[in-house]
């Protein structure tokens, strides 16, 4: 691998594209299923209240209605849903709201009808009587001793807590303390394809096939099986083409449980296609932290200690979002040598949509916390933001090393990335231009923001994955993996790996994934884990298959296996023209005892295994954001964004660049535009794409993305994840740039999203 003939490291066009570019890829709502019914959910329009009654009588008699479900009526026998065994059962989610509703979007009833229009019409006749209770919307409100409790039996609105180093004061001995309160506001993932499913009863025999728009079919399978009372093997979970995920589609959805249970009860296929406005309250959301950071330093800008606390709102029912403060805690020291840390993380339930993973999930919050307070410190000390970072980087000679907060960093060279980013940006010239504009009193200020970050990919123990490679009788190959591609280009990436080992053209290598009937086990695609886990599993399996094939070929030519090399169409004896055997012949020979050398048993030319990366990898990088801020209107315009992301050794520059670009855009979205908002009564205010401003092409610049390459020692490909780096690095860089633009006016902080109103108010507040 990696020799001069290798395709690894080259830009190769995607194998997925011809299908997607011609509209031939079938997403879940495109699947043809004659006679399928449609399910529509009746959701609470009140954030918090006592559920007095649900009257579904009128709905039952509406045209086309097949069934209506609700608590107190036919509830399909579904027990309350527990997302995490580590959380109290007192906070489990009743699948159909019972006695109480806890967020706008809570499911009160479900209507199954012959057509979607009939289901919608019938759902509108369901009469729901709710006596409103005071709503808890913010972290501060949830923690108020007088706050209404979402789950009185839990005794508190706190559902999870984590802390580190609480005994000694980490700021002791500091000559300067920088302090800042900030928020990482609630975001919506907004994959362009909304959530949905198609539940088909009967197959496998006596079971059900569940087509879902998801990132992790193998995690949905046991959850569905347990609720349906079936063996996991009787529940086949398949993801067809999936139109984006970004984390929210890694969660388990009660909608799937209801649709599957209804399909089994009715013995009819049931289809759910979430509308966008439904997705904006029902798809799990991201972030929603309030944070306080205190950083102690010496006068020359060296960090003495960090004292940080975060409060996360996980919404009405705890999902993954409830425990993400653990990841924030681990990553809070970032790329810096910080000896003393105190961290406290608290998670509260609120009357809002549940929070799960969203691009970064716990790490953007950590990066923002340390990168923001470091800029405050630099401002206080009169140091350049780049310089204060450089003075505190972990020494590149220290790797592998474990930080005080338990991050087992595999490799890194943080100054290398920062140097590259500053050079690409023309940092000195930018600072000169900024000074010139300030001196001239120009109303449009230039802001330059820096962030240097490290993140963790394949986190939370997700570093093991299944992979298999097989050569077929027609000479083609297939790869089966436990990850689940939904836009990343796994077919292309993994085929590059297998092709590089075997010499089989990528076009002749199929990818099998996202189907529990075709892949025996797997974890799915999240946490930027796929290449470093499944990619390495494919590499390992390809290598074993090649070794077997070489033994077979060597036996045929009475040569040494060492002399057998890959080449066009199959294997060859090095330096002996004409002595070659095709992959077709090798696949057949592999099952024929008479053609095998001693010691090889007849079996398919195939190998499967589980690659164990033994730990997470830690990608890193440096971003420089250049913004213009109109000080008269508060409008921020991104002028340039320079990203240097190090994801280890690069397999496909094309795919890496795409991940960087998309990640930067989502980071910019948080820094400047997006915010899931609620009013004081818990009514969501951003339930459409008119109210929730996903940025368009016209609001973003082209990006200047590049890479440094620092191999991970934890896997043969040297790979780290790249899926979330762009978001983690860009968000604080852009926020810092906005504040940097206004620092001469006395502005020291602006919360995200840095909207014109907030920026203008900050300027007014500073100059008033």
């Amino acid at each position: 691998m990696g020799d001069s003939g290798s395709i690894l490291g080259n830009s190769v066009f995607r194998l997925e594209d011809p299908t997607l570019l011609t509209g031939s890829g079938k997403y879940v709502d495109d699947l043809d299923c004659p006679g399928a019914t449609r399910i529509v959910f009746v959701r609470s329009s009140v954030a918090h209240g006592e559920l007095r009654s649900v009257d579904v009588e009128a709905a039952r008699s509406m045209p086309g209605v097949v069934a209506v479900y609700c608590a107190g009526g036919d509830d399909l026998g579904l027990a309350p849903f527990q997302s995490f065994p580590m959380l109290s059962e007192a906070v489990n989610r009743p699948v159909f709201a019972r006695d109480r509703v806890r967020f706008v979007g809570d499911i009160v009833a479900a209507v199954v009808a012959e057509s979607g229009a009939q289901a919608v019409d019938a759902a509108e006749t369901v009469v729901v009587d709710i006596e409103p209770l005071p709503a808890v919307v913010t972290q501060a409100a949830a923690l108020d001793p007088a706050a209404p409790l979402l789950f009185p039996e839990n005794g508190s609105n706190v559902c999870f807590a984590t802390s580190f180093g609480s005994e000694e004061d980490p700021l002791e001995g500091a000559e300067v303390v920088a302090e800042v309160d900030m928020v990482s506001q609630r975001l919506a993932g907004v994959p362009m394809e909304t959530n949905g499913c198609l539940m088909v009863p009967g197959e496998p025999s006596g079971g059900i096939t569940c087509w879902i728009s998801h990132q992790a079919p193998h995690s949905v399978q046991p959850a569905l099986a347990a609720v349906l009372g079936l063996e996991p093997a009787a529940v086949r979970v398949v993801c067809p083409w999936v139109g984006g995920g970004f984390g929210p589609k890694a969660a388990m959805y009660v909608e799937y449980l209801i649709a599957a249970a209804a399909a089994r009860q009715l013995d009819r296929s049931v289809r759910w296609a979430s509308t966008r406005s439904e997705d904006m309250v029902a798809l799990v959301q991201g972030r929603d932290y309030t944070m306080t950071a205190k950083l102690g330093l010496t006068r020359d800008g060296r960090i003495v200690g960090l004292d940080a606390s975060v409060v996360a709102s996980c919404g009405a029912y705890p999902l993954l979002g409830a425990v993400l403060p653990m990841l924030t805690q681990m990553m809070v020291v970032g790329v810096y040598d910080i000896a003393k840390v105190r961290f406290s993380g608290t998670t509260v339930v609120t009357n809002t949509t549940p929070v799960g993973a969203y691009r970064g999930a716990g790490r953007p919050e950590a990066t923002q916390l340390i990168e923001r307070v470091l800029d405050v410190a630099a401002d206080q000390l009169g140091l350049d933001p780049a310089e204060i970072r450089r003075r505190n980087f972990i020494d590149p000679a220290a790797f592998p090393m474990t930080t005080v907060t338990g991050g087992a960093y595999d490799s890194g060279d943080y100054a290398k990335a920062l140097d590259a980013a500053l050079a690409a940006a023309g940092y000195e010239e930018l600072r000169a231009e900024q000074a010139r504009r300030r001196a001239a009193g120009e109303p449009v200020a230039l802001g330059i923001g820096v962030s240097t970050y490290v993140e963790v990919t394949a986190p939370l123990g997700l570093h093991t994955e299944y992979g298999a490679v097989e050569i077929h009788d027609d000479g083609s190959a297939s790869m089966a993996v436990g990850t689940s591609s939904h836009g990343q280009g796994h077919h292309t990436a993994f085929a590059m790996v297998a092709s590089d080992v075997l010499g089989i053209p990528m076009e002749r290598i199929r990818l099998i994934n996202s189907d529990t009937a075709a892949v025996p086990r797997g974890t799915g695609t999240m946490g930027s884990r796929s290449l470093q886990t499944a990619g390495n599993a494919v590499f390992a399996a390809s290598t074993v298959v090649l070794e077997r094939a070489r033994s077979i070929a060597a036996h045929q030519f009475e040569a040494s296996p060492q002399d057998i090399v890959t080449g066009a169409g199959g294997l060859h004896v090095a330096g002996v023209p004409g002595q070659s055997v095709s992959w077709q012949e090798l696949a057949v020979a592999s099952r024929d005892a008479s053609l095998l050398p001693e010691g090889l048993e007849p079996e398919p030319l195939r190998h499967e295994g589980d690659f164990d990366g033994t730990g997470s990898t830690f990608p890193f990088g440096a971003h420089v954001s250049v913004v213009e801020v109109d000080t008269e209107t508060g409008k921020v315009t991104m002028r340039r964004h320079i990203a240097v992301d190090d994801c280890g050794r690069i397999l496909s520059p094309l795919l890496v660049r795409g991940q960087q670009h998309g990640g930067i855009a989502q980071g910019a979205a948080q820094a400047l535009f997006e915010w899931v908002q609620y009013d004081d009564d818990g009514n969501p205010l951003t339930t459409t794409l008119l109210d929730y401003p996903v940025p368009a092409a016209s609001e973003l610049p082209s990006f200047e993305a590049s890479n440094t390459e620092t191999d991970s020692p934890l896997n043969p490909l040297g790979a780290k994840g790249i899926g979330e780096s762009g978001t983690i690095g860009s968000t604080p860089a852009i926020q810092n740039a906005v504040i940097d633009a206004l620092s001469h006016l006395g502005v020291t902080h602006v919360d995200m999203p840095c909207t014109p109103e907030r920026v203008w108010s900050a300027i007014e507040g500073a100059t008033a």
Partner: protein, 154 residues
């Protein structure tokens, strides 16, 4: 009511409900699922098709309004021999798609944009595609693809 709409050079004559949107006519009545639905406020552009050669969000008009018109969807863009349209080809070469869900609408919008003005610059592409959202690519490579396709068209 009965409509007669030419879809990708094929005449489709069907009885439709007066309230049926063009996008549902295409997806459900004609069975062409390449055109996607990504929102319910005409914000995302995933459903963009060509109506008599100009881009239109097919969730904003009724099938009845398209009576007598010629519609081109993503399925009708490639050549009969399967060769990709220059815009499709440019999206592939410039990695202008990831999950592919916005892609049919984005490609159709780009075809129309280039037809209107092949002398596009980056700002023109960004403004011209303002009505089409993509969550994966950050638009960078889409812009590159459209600029490349426009230069082919010139």
């Amino acid at each position: 009511m009965r409509v007669r709409i030419t879809v990708n050079d094929r005449v489709e004559e069907h009885d439709v409900e007066a309230r049926q949107l063009l996008v549902h006519f295409l997806r459900e009545t004609v069975g062409l699922t390449g055109t996607n639905v990504g929102c319910d406020t005409s914000s995302c552009g995933a459903c963009t098709v060509l109506l008599d050669g100009e881009s239109v969000k097919s969730c904003t008009i009724l099938a009845a309004q398209a009576d007598g018109a010629a519609i081109t969807t993503i399925e009708g863009l490639a050549g009969r021999d399967g060769s990709l349209h220059p815009v499709q080809q440019a999206f592939r070469e410039h990695h202008g798609l990831q999950c592919g869900f916005c892609t049919p609408g984005m490609v159709m919008a780009a075809v129309s944009l280039i037809a209107e003005n092949p002398e596009l610059d980056e700002a023109g592409v960004r403004l011209g595609l303002e009505g089409n959202l993509c969550r994966c690519t950050g638009y960078h490579n889409i812009v590159q693809a459209v600029l490349a396709a426009a230069s082919v068209a010139r």
